[in-house]
Symmetry: C2
Subunit: 454 residues, 2 copies
């Protein structure tokens, strides 16, 4: 312990800008997962340049100091949560958009740039950056890269991994690694891009990202449909997939979550049905695809409405985006993130009901239906823990439910500290062993985000 | 050497089915790259099941025997070329399509299944497997996975990496690794899927692949356009990208290649222009996108023709697909595979002319224009080598040309033995060092495809 403390002091003392204040350390001990750290990190380094990151990591290697990289702290897996004996490396001040190339349709950004700020900047060129977590206005690109963030558009346009062309990564020993390339295609050597994306800060610190942009669609068509219940809406979502169109958004919200949204936002969604499906199609075929979509869900829906103007469509999307903050008004929220084969959403609905009844935990669900990724949200009393008691039991049962349906523990939020217990049953010995050998090869002293992700 | 020989004998003797015949060893010493091995491998093991692969690799580890995995042998980088002291593990007999799930839109296949056979099988369900190398009817899915194969549709639908959901991989020591998952999304642990894809048989042997399928597009619209020369056609391709549509195919063929196609196939393309652009759009917006495309290229084209029936469209696609075999009738062909930013294709055209003049090597080009991936093909005399003399010089200059334009050595064919000399200048020390440390971690005795890829 005292060894650690002296090692962290050396790293903190060597930084151009660092804080030992309790407020900063408290902030850096947690994220938006509901996870509460038992201790505070020893201090926070604020990096402003790649050189700052390099010099902090060189010191960290010299002194064997554990480093927790932090973006905007909106993570839902306690990936950025730091503890005593650790130094937090906060890169949120490195937030410049360095270059936008409208011809090649790419952007180069610093890691602290917010997802929404990037989209605002490239929007001026008629382009967009596809991965759009609901947290778009508060999360950083570096965090998106480190968690392989998804969102509502990704069934059609891909997740963060599909949008990353190249990264600059500072390794634990301070060396700089350039992954990928600026061209659309390339196969020289192993895919280190994909290895870093989703590695949750355990392999290196991302200090620059070259990202693929896309032309804004010429048209977007929005449908809002209501169903008697979650299971029927899930069936409708499966019918959309089976109809062979590719919606750009297919979001399902259950009745209880609609109630919470109504309560927080003054809307009246719940009165219109027991579950809600928000579907968008886009591009040159947007309206033709919309017709097919409507035919597919018609037999199951109690009401179907086209949002014919942009304002109405934006309202609906905002309601979906705000689901988590609305639920946070009801209590401490712990957010599940399971993925299942797309045809089995209705079965998950039944299973989640069951889990709620058995554990006594209230479960609210929003679902990225076109890729089978569900966010069952546990709403707890403010004093309840997310890492023990009924919440922990419910999270575990959710995982085994997903597993029994051929699914996964986490579709887009990551493992962090929160989900480590289920990583071995998910991945198996060999897979985890290979991952650990890669970690050892790249970060031999185990300094980067120890205990997280794998 | 004698040590090697005795170690290879043990592996060959332990296999259920193996061959020591000179014909089989000769076949296994080469691929379609034009690379000629100086020696023959010691023998070929024919695997029929995953267990066969496991037992061969266990023996290989016990006896420290180098193993070269072989699919269909259509590679263009000498990745499957094997030499004395090595045993070839041929998986082409493991060619079953194990499962097609039309609801989840996925297929599970053995590695030896041919790309075209998979597409024929899933076509019956109205689905397709997107990565479509021109070699579709002769290359294996395992080879596609190992090289991260691309093709003509991949600008819109992604390369092999984007289509792989999960793999079963036998590691050098015989352990079985399951990568990825069957769900559309998932972020638990590092992305071992992407690490294995494109690793050219150096990290493990793929014995099963779970692949994402897509609904066949409801409509496809084809345009054939001619231009005065390659540079003008390249400009037209850039104009298509700038017009913000997403063609599903945008293939450019230069005048000399048209001549070779005409000669081999009895067609008359060359008389219609000095360069040819084959463009397809598909989906619900196919015809609207086609109109935009035509407007974009009109100012540059000497003629533009819509292929209004499927037969005519298929003819055009076949001409493109057959370009390599047609050139092979003219001499030994060595195929470049450089990638550049999409807006710089016209500059490459100029640079390639230059290289041809300086080295005296005839260079023919076909281009996946929508992702900036060019295949400049060197046509040599049958007795010329692809690994020394003018061909080697020309390949090297092509790489430095691509590099000077911000591009890459290889867009989709891989490094193999053929392109190793340029890997360090492309990737840099740190990147190569990280890749080698991963290789050491996963294949500590360096038994799998030694000397290839990295
Ligand atoms: C209301 C709300 C809605 C959300 N909706 C979604 C959603 O739809 N989809 C989705 O995927 N997520 C969603 N999230 C989760 C979260 O926003 C994402 O995980 C996001 O990518 C985290 O970014 P961050 O900058 O906040 O990262 P942090 O929370 O700061 O860090 C997350 C992880 O990334 C690592 N990290 C951060 N920056 C770097 C870097 N530069 N280099 C290396 N490692 C780094 C950290 O160590 C940590 O492990 C939501 C969160 C909230 C609060
Ligand atoms: C006429 C022609 C056109 C072509 N067009 C294209 C094109 O458009 N796009 C494109 O990308 N390529 C193209 N190619 C190249 C080639 O077809 C691809 O690289 C293909 O993916 C190779 O598959 P294969 O089964 O023949 O592999 P092989 O040549 O047998 O092997 C290629 C590499 O993969 C490894 N490997 C093979 N199977 C396995 C396995 N099961 N597990 C682990 N490693 C394995 C080998 O060790 C080797 O390194 C073309 C080739 C020809 C001859």
């Amino acid at each position: 312990m005292s060894l650690h403390t002296s090692s962290t002091s050396a790293v903190l003392a060597g930084a151009r800008s660092a804080s030992l204040s309790e407020t900063d350390r408290l902030d850096a001990s947690t994220d938006r997962s509901g996870y509460v750290s038992q201790s505070l990190p020893d201090g926070v380094v604020f990096a402003e340049t790649t050189d700052d990151v390099v010099s902090t990591l060189r010191l960290a290697t010299a002194h064997r100091t554990p480093i927790v990289t932090r973006g905007a702290g909106t993570g839902l897996a306690a990936g950025a949560s730091a503890r005593s004996g650790e130094v937090v490396l906060d890169v949120s001040r490195m937030n410049k958009i360095l270059r936008i190339d409208p011809v090649e349709q790419l952007a180069v950004v610093e890691p602290g740039a917010l997802n929404a700020d990037l989209n605002a900047a490239v929007g001026e060129y008629g382009l967009f950056y596809a991965p759009d977590p609901a947290s778009t206005s508060i999360c950083s690109i570096g965090g998106n890269v480190a968690t392989n963030a998804g969102g509502m558009r990704c069934a059609k346009y891909g997740v963060t991994r599909d949008a990353v062309l190249s990264l600059n990564v500072v390794l634990a020993d301070g060396r700089q690694l350039r992954t990928g390339r600026e061209t659309m295609k390339g196969v020289s050597g192993y895919d280190l891009n994909a290895l870093i994306v989703g590695s949750e800060g355990t392999l290196g610190v991302v200090t620059e990202a070259t990202l693929r942009l896309r032309p804004l669609p010429v048209a977007t068509a929005t449908v809002a449909a209501f169903f008697p219940d979650f299971a029927t809406a899930a069936q409708a979502a499966s019918a959309v997939i089976a109809s062979r169109i590719q919606p750009s958004m297919l979001e399902l919200i259950d009745g209880q979550t609609l109630e919470a949204i109504d309560m927080a936002m003054g809307t009246t969604y719940r009165s219109q049905g027991g579950a809600f499906l928000l579907a968008q199609t886009d591009g040159y075929g947007a309206h033709l695809e919309q017709d097919v979509l409507i035919e597919a869900i018609r037999p199951l829906a109690t009401s179907i409405e086209k949002a014919n103007d942009d304002e109405h469509a934006a309202e609906l999307v905002t309601a979906r985006r705000e689901a988590i903050p609305c639920l946070e008004k009801l209590g401490r929220v712990s957010i599940g993130d399971i993925g299942v084969p797309r045809g089995r959403l209705a079965e998950v609905a039944v299973g989640l009901n069951d889990i709620s009844e058995r554990t006594g935990v209230r479960i609210y669900s929003v679902v990225h239906a076109s890729d089978g990724n569900l966010h069952p949200m546990l709403v707890l009393n403010p004093e309840d823990s997310v890492t023990e008691g009924p919440a922990k039991v419910a999270l575990g049962e959710m995982f085994y439910l997903a597993k029994s349906l051929g699914g996964t523990l986490t579709g887009e939020h990551g493992i962090g500290l929160l989900k480590r217990d289920w990583l071995l049953p998910e991945l198996g010995e060999v897979s985890l062993d290979v991952m650990r050998s890669i970690k050892d090869a790249i970060d031999p002293h185990g300094l980067l985000n120890p205990g997280k992700a794998i």
